[in-house]
Symmetry: C2
Subunit: 723 residues, 2 copies
């Protein structure tokens, strides 16, 4: 039986049980779990012991000694309408006083804005008694807001657990190492902690210095969440250091941006990019100091990709400078697998699977559901793991709960074995990729596998139709890259790329918005497609109204969106055609939220179109959902939206091969049924064929030479075929 | 039995039958029909005889004598991609050579544009042999188009009939009275024609000088249609006269606008407004010359609002200068009734009802369908006629066909009587209006009842959800005005207005787009609402991204649209509330195309919201469809879309009364069932209550004092109640 690569939770009340399960699952590491202590004999349980470590919280005495060194954030007040020339704004309206405290010592950073005109307003003062802001000489019927610096006096993630899970422990305050006292303190503390924890092999940092933006409202409910948000990094210390280094000062509005707070859906401006770069350097430097201490104690440093990870962008320029040994993160679906498994510059990456061993799942009578959730999570992740596995897997929660479910223990053991098999086959070299595909957006590689997320892994109606493209890609037999508009403008399209995908809503950082104002972008991509490459647009790709078109590359995709201005033009290209791309489609294609008012240009092939059942007299134009278009020697495809499903992943796979003009090559290392997928490992000369569905599948398997054979796969099964 | 106010078609083969039907229907006028001759004894058939007259077509000999005086238009060629530095464009690609002829004598007006950069391109020439345009020094991978002046050599409306109805008569050429010879000719011809037609009482102009834009493609199918389009008015003669008068020249791009051709969905720019004004004056002056001749012969002049009506805007400044006696138009629904019936400065207005007496409806065995179509058309129109009737009604086609259907003849007779009753009750003074409501858009009163139309009366998927607002208004007991942004900016909101409605897609002339860049517009309307008025937004009202909001008056309506940039903000206002506005709603509300991604602001009441059935884990924000919001002493309402239906008309009625803060006043001259509507005529002290549905209705009728009584109304019936 294989062993290793698995981490399990343990606690002092379950030491013997841990040993048993460790044996069954081949686990070689144990970790602590929130609110528990490690057993005294923990070193006997596994080869490695992980221990959670917090840098900027956990020592309230320190926090109380240096309240001036707490974290800061810039917030925008609610909008207040000026009824006359004067108005009074309470900045705290709508905010949670237990989390947020207006920082009146730093009023120099406060600003008042007329949000109706967009102009900064200078005639105002703060009433020291009430804390309200009095705006004078206002323009009646304009809305005003105050941008204020605030102290963060309770750690946001703890607020969440506190209020959601009714915690009663002490409320953890925060302290920011950007300030001198804390900078010194965290090193001392790290060293002392290492000394006090000889049993610990791996320091699991949860996480580093700056929490992603997470603000609560006056009822203690989440008000604002941005998993990518740099909002809590804006301490006066950092702002001053930034000004010194960059030669210009940032103001509150550079962070507030009229309430959009530099959302990753916005194209980033230079100031924000500068700030991100600056914070990344600062975080890397500070963390490196701690990692060196950890290493000096003979321990490893592991980053949890989750909470205070801001500035530690794993695909950023300075990530390697931290000298981390490992990264761990939770596994939602294929996208989160790839986000973790491709992180460079660490020795190993670990994924934590669902379900957590918590009482909400592990209660009497719920064993079958627990196994089903495990199977679902595993199957969703597996297709991505086959492409690029992380090095270790793990679970979280109370192992004693899982131990009560023998079927669960058995199935988890099988999965651990399957995982080790995959790592063994895929670990050394890249699996075969039929194509190299690049997702083009404003963020590029910095946010590899991180586009179209708001809060980590949460479902939003506005993103799932686009996020489905990434989820599909995470398990398809193509090499995936993330490239930025800036890169393309500067260097052109990388030679190895076969297909470019642009996916998102108009004017977002994902479709590109203002980047498309630059004609060179259109020139470069048009020329590149015409040479014989593929371009796939999803949603409102390349949208930027100019020259009578809405999609800048409408001519490439053979589709544009009707804004009303060309309703007078008759559109006759409405006949649905059979096509290579839709060959595996059974029933309706699911476009998710889809896209309204898209029509096909003359000459494009319409692969799918919906007609209103309200049509009465004429002008039955229909809404085009899918087009395929020859463009020079290359090809373009338009898709209205594509949530993840087996059928949609297959559709995208076909669209990519078709757009690259390499349809025949698709039938290499290929399994015919869309519920199945095939990965080929050239070094090991092995094929892995998986059934992602709950049904038994009979399919045709094509090897690398295109030779066919029939295969049968039970629900969720994996089949290894040797060459 | 009542008599008069009815016009019927006749022809030489059906003189005796005409007499009989005229008696049954009380018809007092006869008209000719396309392709027929009036009977010799036509003067015996009715008091008045109408005869169709064309000004700019019908005399091909004249047209052939003066081919240089034909109509002109500016067209944009297809888009051609520059693969290298030089490319060749065939301007005629996609156009119909039988309609369109490039006018190479007027090449001074031709322009080449780089549609990728938007820049005018000057390095080109026209190959005289092939007619193609050679573009030199092009920027590779940019799309280029040629704007060319073209001669229109076949009348567009005739092309339609020719190709659709397989006509074989001579193809009618055109001649433009902007040119000196034709200017003189049309007067002479008018005079001669009047002399030759002593039997004619009414000259029915079909219509005047410039056809609305109607262009055909290379297959002879409609390519471009804009019922409001000034595209066919651009003769060199007029362009030169314009330059002389206005001191600046217009170029082809001022009309082409990158292929948008000054669509009424675009905010008009100053140049186009100048041109419209100029053409209106020219048309009015020219037509006045002909009307004077008609009058001199003791005849009346009637305008058909349909074909060559460009420049004769019935709600324009110069319409009265034509000294017309009458206007006639066809009746689609309530909107077309009001568009006709409110035309000022004529002695009478006439509406032509459906169905036409053509063989496609009047064939053996189809009598019930013919009656049903008549009923449907009548009932839809009647609710608008009750608010403001036109003075006469009529039918078209071959009377002999209708005469074969006795049930049809009987029902049409009843309708003629009902029509005369309505005119008698409503003709003298305005019926009671509970409110004055203004539709606010870029066109204002110039395009009264003419917003959200593309081709006359045709259904488009992109407009019915907005056009439904006008259709509802056409029969509701409110006074309706159309006001423009310019007016509001200049003069504020007229005192008599209680409610403003802004309805349409973002950045169109109907929602306003760039007008909202002017903060004063928001200031004026906010202040006005806060004083105690109502504002109703439909679709993407006041949309103009600024200051972190998309709807400029989001605060008034309590709703905004999510573009992605504030997805990080939690939206908790998702609980649906019962409300006065939705009190009559049974089942689902029909929002038509609706509007995606709208959310309610805190404090607003959500009256309807849809949740995605895909929701999995959290962030169940929903899409808000209907909000009601207190705003100072006034109120705002947001509606996602509102196609016409009895239920939606009632919903709008309630929304208007609620937003004006006058809910109780709604119960005056009111019938409780949404399928019924009530009009009160103060002068006549009469109530008309109509059942717009096919079912028998029992409802509660409230008189002007709010006194209730039960009423019963059969399908499509009208009930007159005396005070």
């Amino acid at each position: 039986m294989s062993k290793g690569r698995v981490t399990i939770p343990t606690d002092e009340s379950f030491a013997e049980g841990t040993k048993e399960i460790a044996k069954l699952w081949g686990a070689d590491a144990v970790r602590d779990c929130d609110g528990t202590e490690l057993p005294k004999n923990v070193k006997e349980l596994a080869e490695k012991v992980y221990n959670t470590y917090f840098i900027v919280r956990g020592d309230n005495r320190w926090a109380e000694k240096h309240p001036e060194e707490t974290h800061r954030t810039f917030l925008m007040s609610a909008r207040f309408l000026a009824e006359g020339k004067q108005l009074v704004i309470d900045p705290m309206q709508g905010y949670f006083a237990q989390q947020i405290q207006p920082d009146r010592e730093n009023k120099a950073y406060w600003e008042v804005y007329d949000r109706t005109s967009g102009a900064k307003h200078t005639d105002w003062s703060c009433d020291e008694k009430t804390g309200t802001v009095v705006v004078r000489n206002a323009r009646p019927m304009h809305e005003y807001t105050v941008n204020f610096m605030a102290k963060v006096i309770w750690h946001p993630v703890q607020i969440y657990n506190y209020l959601t899970n009714n915690w009663t422990c002490e409320k953890q305050r925060m302290y920011d190492p950007a300030f001198p006292n804390t900078a010194e303190y965290i090193k001392r503390h790290m060293d002392e902690w290492c000394k006090a924890h000889p049993e610990t092999d791996v320091v699991r940092f949860t996480t580093f210095l700056y929490q992603f933006t997470l603000i609560f409202n006056e009822k203690g409910k989440e008000k604002y969440v941005d998993w990518f948000g740099y909002g809590l990094s804006t301490s006066p210390a950092l702002l001053q250091a930034f000004e010194k280094e960059y030669g210009y000062a940032l103001c509150s509005e550079d962070f507030v941006r009229a309430g959009n707070y530099n959302s990753p859906f916005l194209n980033p401006d230079k100031k924000f990019l500068d700030w991100m770069d600056f914070v990344q350097r600062k975080v890397s430097g500070t963390v490196r100091g701690l990692v060196d201490i950890v290493h000096a104690h003979g321990k490893e440093a592991m980053m949890f990709l989750g909470d205070d990870w801001i500035g530690a962008e794993p695909y950023g320029k300075y990530f390697k400078d931290m000298d981390l040994d490992a990264v761990v993160g939770s596994v939602g679906g294929g996208v989160t697998v790839r986000m973790l498994s491709e992180i460079p510059h660490v020795k190993y990456r670990e994924g934590r699977f669902l379900p957590y061993f918590f009482p909400d799942t592990f209660f009497e009578g719920n064993e079958d559901n627990a196994v089903a959730e495990l199977d679902r999570n595993w199957t969703t992740a597996r297709r991505a793991l086959l492409r690029k596995p992380f090095d270790r897997m793990g679970f979280g929660g109370y192992l004693s709960l899982a131990a009560k479910f023998p079927k669960f223990v058995r199935r988890a053991g099988e999965i651990c074995d399957e995982f080790r098999d995959i790592v063994a086959a895929a670990g050394k070299a890249k699996p075969y990729s039929g194509l190299t595909v690049a997702v083009l957006n404003a963020w590029g590689s910095l946010r590899s596998w991180q586009s179209h997320m708001v809060a980590h892994e949460l479902w939003y109606q506005q993103i799932y139709s686009y996020q489905g493209i990434l989820e599909a890609l995470s398990g398809l037999a193509v090499n995936v890259k993330f490239i930025s508009f800036d890169e393309v403008l500067k260097y052109g399209v990388d030679k190895e790329i076969d297909v470019i995908i642009n996916v998102g809503d108009a004017y977002t950082a994902f479709s590109g918005g203002d980047y498309w104002a630059d004609d060179r972008l259109s020139e470069i991509i048009r020329a590149w497609v015409r040479e014989g490459h593929g371009f796939i647009g999803v949603g409102e790709p390349t949208a930027y109204a100019k020259g009578g078109r809405y999609f800048r590359l409408a001519d490439v995709m053979g589709a544009d969106k009707e804004l009303g201005f060309t309703l007078s033009e008759d559109k006759y290209n409405i006949e649905k055609k059979q096509h290579f791309i839709t060959e595996d489609v059974r029933g309706e294609i699911d476009y998710g939220e889809g896209m309204k008012n898209v029509y096909a240009l003359e000459g494009a092939d319409v692969l799918d179109i919906a007609f209103s059942d309200r049509f009465r007299r004429s002008v039955n134009v229909g809404e085009v959902k899918l087009t395929a278009n020859e463009y020079g020697k290359g090809r373009g495809v338009y898709i209205a939206g594509l949530p993840y499903s087996a059928q949609n992943a297959r559709l995208l796979y076909r669209a990519m091969f078709w757009s690259a003009g390499r349809e025949e090559e698709m039938y290499r290392a290929f399994s015919s049924d869309p519920d199945t997928e095939c990965t080929y490992y050239p070094e090991e000369k092995k094929y892995a064929i998986v059934n992602n569905s709950l049904r038994d599948v009979t399919a045709t398997f094509y090897d690398m030479q295109g030779k066919e054979r029939e295969i049968k796969l039970g629900a969720h099964r994996i089949l290894w075929v040797m060459e």
